[in-house]
Each structure stands twice: as C-alpha cells, then as structure tokens.
C-alpha cells in the first residue's frame, strides 16, 4: 500500500466523520420535548420526571448519582469521578439540542439506571422537569 492510498483512506474517514457530525442540525430542547410528548400521547409531568431522576430503580444508581440531585450545576461521574456539565438546558446551552444524541444518551443512561430503555413518556417527564429548572 503506497502513501497516497493511506492518505486517501485517512481523508475519507475524516470526511465521513465530519459529515456525520455536522449532519445533525441543532434543534431547541422544547422541540425534542414536543416530539417525545407526541410519541407518548400524553402531556409530560415535571414532578414525575423529578421523581424518576432521583430514584434508584432497584439498582445501584439513580440519574442523580452522576448528574446530581440539582442538575443545574456540574455533576460527578459515579465511577470515573469526572466532572459532567450541567444537564438543565437553562444552565448549559448545548444540552438537548441534537435528537440523535439525546436518544443515544437516554438509551445508555436509562439502561445503566433502570436496566432498560426509557419510554417516550418517561423521557418527556424528565426533559419537562429539566426545562422547568431556571436560574
């Protein structure tokens, strides 16, 4: 394999990554919430969301174990100890602005906390609570 072939492969990989990364357009957290609520077929409940967030569902962790009971400030990863940026959108403009990313992290974190994926209703509840948190 000559050098130009290697260069081309690397360039293709980088380009592919860049296209994938920029392919997702930014949306407002409220739009993501509206989507989840529509899928759930019921209006979200911030109180239920807060409850879900702070409860350990028969496992070792709650969402708050890493994000903190008040996700208006940085949390601390429960196994790596790394700082995690605030989750509430009013305190961290990057949060919940990319549907694919939001779905991915709900999938991962719900599996860690509840041992299953969250339903649309549960995701809508949690997001509605996070959006209700204001400075």
């Amino acid at each position: 394999m000559n050098q130009s072939t290697i260069t081309r492969c690397v360039a293709a990989l980088l380009l592919g990554g860049a296209v994938l990364a920029t392919g997702a357009q930014a949306v407002a957290p409220a739009e993501i919430l509206a989507g989840y609520s529509a899928q759930a077929g019921a209006p979200p409940s911030p109180a239920r969301g807060q409850q879900l967030f702070n409860t350990r569902h028969g496992g070792e962790w709650s969402c708050a174990s890493c994000h903190g009971a008040a996700p208006t400030q940085a949390g601390k990863h429960a196994s790596t100890g790394k700082a995690i940026g605030a989750l509430a959108p009013a305190f961290n403009a990057e949060r919940f602005t990319d549907l694919a990313r939001t779905d991915k992290w709900f999938r991962r974190n719900c599996n860690d906390v509840m041992g299953r994926e969250c339903t649309y209703a549960e995701k809508a509840d949690v997001l509605s609570w996070l959006l209700a948190l204001k400075p």
């Binding site: 394999m1 000559n2 072939t5 290697i6 492969c9 690397v10 990989l13 980088l14 592919g16 990554g17 860049a18 994938l20 990364a21 920029t22 702070n54 070792e60 962790w61 709650s62 708050a64 174990s65 890493c66 009971a69 601390k76 990863h77 429960a78 196994s79 790596t80 100890g81 790394k82 990319d98 990313r101 999938r107 991962r108 974190n109 599996n111 860690d112």
Partner: protein
C-alpha cells in the same frame, strides 16, 4: 474449486522437505490475542457508564499495543516486519486474482490482502484510541465522539473481513491459520522459519499490560469497577434530604 486447484493448494503442505516451523514469534501472537481481547472488551463495554473505566483502560491498552506493534514491525522477526508483508495495490490485486483462478499464491507470512486488513486495523486502532482519549478528557467536540463510534464500527467490519479472510485462506491453502496464530507454526520449508520466538519480549509485554491494568484499578475512584463509594455517597445525600 476444481480438482486441480485442490491439488495445487495442498501442494505446499505436502511438498517434500517441509515441516512445522516457527513463523510467528511470541510477541506477534501475544499482541494479536491481547488486541482481540481489548477490542472485544472495549466494544462490549462501550454503552455503559458502569464499565466506563474498563472501556477506557482497554482502549488505552489497545493504543499501547499498537505502538509496540509498529516498533516490532520495524525491529521484529522476519514475518513480523512491515517490509515483509506491506505490498502495493498491484500485489493485492494479483493475489485476489490468483484466488479467483483457484490457484492461490502461497505466502509464508501475511498474504497481500491480509496485510491490507492489518494496516487498516492498526490505523483504525490508533484513530479510535486518540479520539476516545480526547472524548474522555473533554478535548475536542461532539464530532470526535461521533468519529470514535464510526471508526469503532468500521474496525468491527474490518475484523469481520479479517476473520473471513483467515477462514477462507485456511481452507484454500489447506493450512490452519488460526492455529498458526496460537502456536506460531506453519508447515513450510525449514529455512523459511524464524530462529527465535523472543519469548522474553512477549513476557515483558504481558507484565506491562497487567501492570497497567492493576494501576488503573488502584487509581479508580471507587477502588475498581465496583461503585460502592459513589453509591454510598449518593445514598448519604439522599438520606440527608430525607429521600430514602
């Protein structure tokens, strides 16, 4: 596959004057199987925060292994060296054509198509380790996280092709390539073998890898994979708030 090609494929193994000799030195084999373990383990633990430190540790190990392999590709034994197996596209095309014809070229070391997979795997492993390190340490942006995942899935695809290639060429050449990556031996002319297995280097690799894992275990905030301390802390916090 025709009768003739079966005969030809078997010819090297049956040729007079061949015997089982060492082709893959010990560092090559230990590298290979440690890389398998690291990539598989990191892939399986990718989704869970509970296993995040294991994932990261296996990823860094993979990076270290590849760094070693690059050096060994310059200084190792005959078939471990890049100069022995890195070939241009023309050689790859010629090899693939020889397979299609049913008269596969025999290579004692890596064949040109296999070499291509190896270079892709090494390159991807470097890209995955670097982007994983950057993501874990909040250097760079979200795009690096995407890149990390895309590259890891690409590597899984190349692993699939590599395994398929090893199985197919084992069958075409009537030689057990998977077994050869375990005991290092192939049925070839004695003068084609390598003299030393470099077992000391392989043992040193194992010591360094196990030592690194032990250090990571010690440095983990909760004293390892178990998350007792953070959970206890969370428990206490919940208790303070009268939440339990």
């Amino acid at each position: 596959m025709s009768e003739t090609s079966v005969f030809r494929a078997e010819a090297p193994a049956n040729a007079a004057g061949t015997r089982k000799v060492l082709v893959w030195d010990a560092p090559v084999r230990v590298f290979h199987w440690l890389l398998v373990a690291c990539f598989a383990g990191a892939y399986i633990t990718a989704e869970s925060e509970r296993w995040r430190l294991v994932h990261v540790t296996l990823g860094y190990t993979m990076g270290g292994l590849v760094a070693f392999r690059v050096l060994w590709g310059l200084a190792g034994t005959r078939y471990a060296r890049f100069s022995n197996f890195v070939r241009g596209p023309a050689a790859v095309a010629r090899y693939l054509r020889s397979i299609v014809r049913g008269e596969p070229e025999h290579h004692t070391g890596h064949n040109p198509a296999g070499a291509l997979a190896i270079l892709a795997l090494l390159g991807l492993a470097v890209a995955i380790t670097a982007s994983g390190w950057a993501t874990f340490n909040d250097v760079g942006g979200k795009w690096l996280e995407e890149f990390h995942e895309v590259a890891a899935n690409l590597m899984l695809a190349v692993v699939g092709a590599h395994i398929a290639g090893a199985v197919v060429s084992s069958w075409l050449h009537r030689e057990n390539l998977i077994g050869a990556m375990i005991d290092g031996r192939k049925q070839v002319r004695p003068e084609e073998g390598v003299r030393s297995a470099w077992r000391t280097v392989a043992a040193l690799m194992l010591v360094v890898v196990l030592g690194f894992w032990w250090m990571q275990w010690q440095a983990a905030p909760a004293g390892g994979a178990a998350s007792d301390r953070p959970v206890a802390a969370a428990k206490a916090k919940n208790h303070d708030r009268g939440h339990d």
